[in-house]
Symmetry: C2
Subunit: 438 residues, 2 copies
Amino acid sequence: MRMSEFFLPTLKEDPSEAQIVSHRFMLRAGMIRQSSAGIYSWLPMGLRVLKKIEGIVRQEQDRAGCQELLMPTIQSADIWRESGRYDDYGKEMLRITDRHDREMLYGPTNEELITEIFRESVRSYKDLPKLLYHIQWKFRDEVRPRFGVMRGREFLMKDSYSFDLDFAGAKQTYNKMFVSYLRTFSRMGLKAIPMAADSGPIGGDMSHEFLILADTGESEVFCHRDILSFDVPGDDVDYRIDQQPVVDKWTSLYAATDEKHNAAREEELGEELVAARGIEVGHIFYFGTKYSKAMNAVVASPDGQEIPVEMGSYGVGVSRLVAGIIEASHDDDGIIWPEPVAPFGAGIINLRAGDALCDTTCEDLYSKLSSAGLDPLYDDRDERAGVKFANMDLIGLPWQVVVGPRGLENGMVEIKSRATGDKQEMTPDAVLNKLMAV
Amino acid sequence: MRMSEFFLPTLKEDPSEAQIVSHRFMLRAGMIRQSSAGIYSWLPMGLRVLKKIEGIVRQEQDRAGCQELLMPTIQSADIWRESGRYDDYGKEMLRITDRHDREMLYGPTNEELITEIFRESVRSYKDLPKLLYHIQWKFRDEVRPRFGVMRGREFLMKDSYSFDLDFAGAKQTYNKMFVSYLRTFSRMGLKAIPMAADSGPIGGDMSHEFLILADTGESEVFCHRDILSFDVPGDDVDYRIDQQPVVDKWTSLYAATDEKHNAAREEELGEELVAARGIEVGHIFYFGTKYSKAMNAVVASPDGQEIPVEMGSYGVGVSRLVAGIIEASHDDDGIIWPEPVAPFGAGIINLRAGDALCDTTCEDLYSKLSSAGLDPLYDDRDERAGVKFANMDLIGLPWQVVVGPRGLENGMVEIKSRATGDKQEMTPDAVLNKLMAV
């Protein structure tokens, strides 16, 4: 993409409404624009990141044997009355009356609707287990939406739902999703720590939140230092095998959000305790037959009896992750995208647009990086070098290739790593080789 | 995907609520389930087709230089008051009041919101032209939703918006989108005919609907026979060049929806006139400064004056196309998917699951077709052959590979084209070669 053509309305000044760093940088880097309180449009730069994240989430869901479907945003109030949650949910639920005075709502989550789909479709234990997910916009009418897409009202979430015949099956499914979440966040360049969460009367110990650490995180978290260096299962993970040993390892050491923190452990753990700030980006949750009983989602068991299915739900905050990653990875100058979620693979800065050699060198790099699938962003604008450097740092692409007349006298351009700030002079061909090897 | 694991709740009987063939087959083939009147969940089989269509639409938008963003579903009523459409829109607009009693709505279209984004971001003619699109769920509260996703209330639409400095630029953009639409529908295996549409007081002749022909289409259309064999520009189309000659050619012969049909032309055209049924799948529309004037979206012109931008909008009914393609391509037994939008590339039918040779042959085909990226659906269920044949015809994959003990005695399997019904016996290796060459 050429920056002269790209729809990238960056801001020079810090917007006054942004209280946290991700919100500030997302507005300044032209990623989002607010359309109403807590409701945002994703401009091309922001949408690119959102889709990268969504893509990784999808791949890891599919790898774990989850099947994608897509439920609508607008639901009928009737199924929420069946589950008993229509009145419980309070004012965070956006309630809607249609032209025929039917009570509808904008789905804040989908347990009811997926349970309805399941009960209409599956009748026998032979069709179990089933693991279904969708990636869809949700709405929660927060009383005070703030922090940009971190706590917006309309937000993109991946939610999965599992259906098993018995507790043993449900536990195995839970373990699979636990590992799948470790992998999902790790692939985005994040260290996410699973922490025991409230599970209500049913869940037992099968409820975990996944938090990423960031100095600017929303809440305080505590964990044993060693968890930070635990390995995440690789691409060769075999989900046909119960992942209990991985879950056991990751839950063997202390890790707790401030709500669940036991201050008595502090002295005991001493130097081994890390106290940090965290951002919740995922939640996995076993809830047994809560919805299947209330909504009569039953299957015929092997001995012919009708029994309610065992269920769990598993959420990832897809739009929230965009902000979460920025909170975890930035400096004073702007965003530092981890490569797997970067909106473009590399930036090319032409220090003297209009100079024949600069132009042809840039065009050649642009064309070759594009052909190699590295998706470069080429700053071909007629702007001062300082503006270009500042913009490129702000938007945070992993690599910057700087092409100027002085370097070209010796046939050299400069490549800079956004994360480390390291700069190297090399030939354009060496740049191509280096970036293609990344 | 193995059918034994796939979430595919097919129906044996025709559902009574389905009045048209696409609705009937989409329900029977386990593609969708209604959740409320005119609101559907897309099950995995349906979602696969929806995404294939969305992917083609996106590629052709990108090719034409359109940049993707994503606007939210919920909008503020304020911008609709600015444009004057809040009161005009009537009961089809789903109006919502949030917890703070602010008037909101579920967007039925996005002219207002994109104009607001544009006016906040673009100030100079130097940043024109701009062509922006998004693919997002919309809501129109139809008084009588029917025909499944053909006329649903919550539906997926691609809508693009163009911003040009003057009429000449706007016309060139219009031509580009005209050609881009020809290509988009053609790539889905459809013949879509552009027909002059109502444009209101501004549009002049720059408003076209794109209709596909299907015996079961919703309305009557008329066109000159020769249009049906006009060529569509290929992958080498160069949008930097004005596409006026292509537009001139496609609009040189008579083509009209029933609303615009001039009965006097019937006699004149005689045998050359085709009267058929059509389904509207796209609409392109130039509307000049209607919104930019009302909402003050102005740019500085080269001579320093502030002038309102020239705009157009361009829609494709993405979810509607799923039904439209079925209406255009089916037989009594089920759907006949054009290859580019088929949910799976091929089906494998194991006629005797449990038979060692049948099983290993099927597994081998399944594994090799998967590796080759052909995305096969393997019917590995313990079901009667008749059920498997009927299911495979219903879901309409382009190719069926039938593996049975009798054929395997001679080392042969059967391959059937869903579209032609042609069957051929060949070795499994020959099947692989044939399908990889498709």
